[in-house]
Symmetry: C2
Subunit: 331 residues, 2 copies
DNA sequence: AACCTTTGTGCAAACGTTTGCTGTGGAAAA
DNA sequence: TTTTCCACAGCAAACGTTTGCACAAAGGTT
């Protein structure tokens, strides 16, 4: 026989489908004896409910979508892992949609969420997104949405981020404390709010220390290769004594470049990064960093989303996670 | 109004739901004029079909599941990206389930696939899986399944892998060609078939070159930290002149450790790895490797699965991808 | 003895589509 | 004119569940 349905069970047991359904769901209205008969036959036939029918009837899908701007080896794996674990532990399943950093794919992904009737959405925005217009269809329908990591700066939706100003301050302060006065900064895509925020933190921390901001010492790089070039320029042309990298990717590029120079880390050049904590272990000396845990971000975002779905949380909540300095050999 | 349904459209247009459905699906039985009216109203109201209902009616979910043993920064991101792109381009959506390398979670994930009525499954087996018994429910129902990367050695299901013997031979041959005779090997979890195969390749290549296999020179390490320890032992205690690492993770561990020694790469110590190609760029000199593209593996696996779903392929097919030597500075 | 409550079950509708079949009006063919 | 055919639209069933309601039998309360 094909996959047995509830109706099949009902026919075989001389019961009504509704009774079988209630028995399987342990409804109090049905007698223990009937429940036993039903469950035994169900087990025997290997019955499992047709989730498609359940979904339609219950008008939900049991699905949570993760919208991510791109697949990135430095941040995503731990975020994915945390989210998958949290979602799964609560009986949902995770569907992943990537946007390739384009607004059009992101918009399309939002439509998919709507069509699939996902019950919640976790979003790390693509660089092109400068507003949330393309999320209107979801937000209008009151589909719970939690933004994380890459968010809009002045937005009042639920979100989980780190305090970019603060962590950059921590990093730069650490360099200042070690006596560095000429500090170069490597920054990512300026379209991203995390980039802008971190740059502000960088400037302000220097200003507060009485060091005038030199625009030449803050460079933008889109990937590790560009990070390498910028790092070389900062070190060789602008003679910085310390480098700040706002991400793992840029840090890796920088260290790779610096290994070509004769400069010893940390004696001749200090380096600090904002990092998930894995890449800093690749080197010797290990790279001092502000630990920005992707796992933690993912976990908190998922928990927040689940709270919103449950209705535990009524008002939008913006959560800012704390980060800690992990002092290793590079500074 | 809530989300409009096909029935709503029908009522507003004084049509039958079936006609509206056909109009939306561009069925030849409905007049161009009616199609126009329907489509206009649909656009106006922002109608999108309720996928839950479509799924139930059509008895499919549009979902493809990716079962992965764990989230790993070295291999997964590019695999995920390739699979997501391929799947999405063909109108399916991707749900991701991780097994935490346990058989129990993997079994559970198989059940989820069945319940959700996924239309195809891509699997990278967890280390604990020594047979496919737990896939019986899927295979019995003729759900298309393609295994990739981590597969069972003697299995006749569809799969996409690399030729482990061959790529290890390439790597070791390269070291031999450079004059190395005392070569250490770093290997991963011995429960995995890729580990066993690569170890065999390692031994045989050495044997063929007239070098008796020394078991002390082939070490198992589960992660990069253990890789570091093993690398140090091989270099300092066993005085190898070259290292082979069967994965990025072990390579990274090894290089990190070697940077603590005074040994110059490649003059005093050569190193080669099997790698996705990213991590070798982190270092200077860059690490020579056999390029095992996760993107390519994912892409081929997804394409194969789609072919099986379409019925284009009748017999199980085991695809073995070729890999190329990327010679950089480390050898 | 009449009434109410409880316990267990069945009936039927609903979730929103898709699709085989039936039917109608009009044009083309005989 | 009659027959045939086609283009178009509607009817109703189906996908497999869940759930409000009705109802019968049994037990308990006045």
């Amino acid at each position: 026989m094909n996959r047995p349905t509830i109706t099949d069970l009902a026919r075989m047991l001389q019961l009504n489908a509704s009774t079988v359904s209630r028995a399987l769901n342990d409804h109090p209205d049905v007698s223990p004896e009937t429940k036993k008969r039903v469950n035994e036959l169900a087990r025997e036939l290997g019955y499992t409910p047709n989730q498609l029918a359940v979904n339609l009837r219950k008008r939900h899908s049991g699905l949570i979508a993760l919208l991510v701007s791109e697949m990135n080896m430095f941040f995503n794996p731990s975020v994915f892992r945390a989210i998958e674990e949290e979602i799964h532990a609560n009986g949902y399943n995770l569907i992943i949609l990537q946007a390739n950093n384009t607004l059009s794919r992101e918009t399309q992904n939002v439509q998919i969420c709507r069509q699939l009737a996902v019950e919640g959405v976790l979003v790390s925005l693509s660089a092109e997104a400068q507003n949330l217009d393309h999320f209107a269809t979801l937000l209008d329908q009151k589909v719970p949405v939690v933004f994380f990591d890459r968010v809009l700066p002045q937005d009042h939706s639920c979100s989980v981020t780190v305090d970019d100003l603060e962590i950059t301050r921590q990093a730069v302060d650490h360099l200042l404390k070690k006596g560095h006065r000429r500090i170069g900064g490597l920054f990512g895509d300026p379209k991203l709010s995390i980039t802008r925020e971190r740059l502000i933190g960088f400037r302000e921390t220097l200003s507060n220390a009485g060091i005038p901001f030199d625009p030449q010492l803050a460079m933008y790089a889109q990937n590790s290769e560009e990070g390498s070039h910028c790092a070389l320029e900062l070190v060789e042309k602008h003679q910085v004594s310390a480098l700040f990298a706002m991400s793992d990717e840029l840090m890796v590029g920088a260290v790779q470049a610096l290994e070509t120079t004769k400069k010893k880390i940390p004696e001749e050049l200090a380096i600090i990064a904002i990092s998930d904590g894995f890449a800093p272990e690749f080197y010797n000396p290990k790279i001092t960093h502000i630990r920005h845990s992707g796992y933690q971000v993912g976990q908190h975002a998922a928990q927040l989303l689940l709270d919103v779905i449950r209705g535990t949380i009524k008002k939008p909540l913006q959560e800012k996670l704390a980060c800690q300095l992990v002092e290793l050999g590079s500074v």
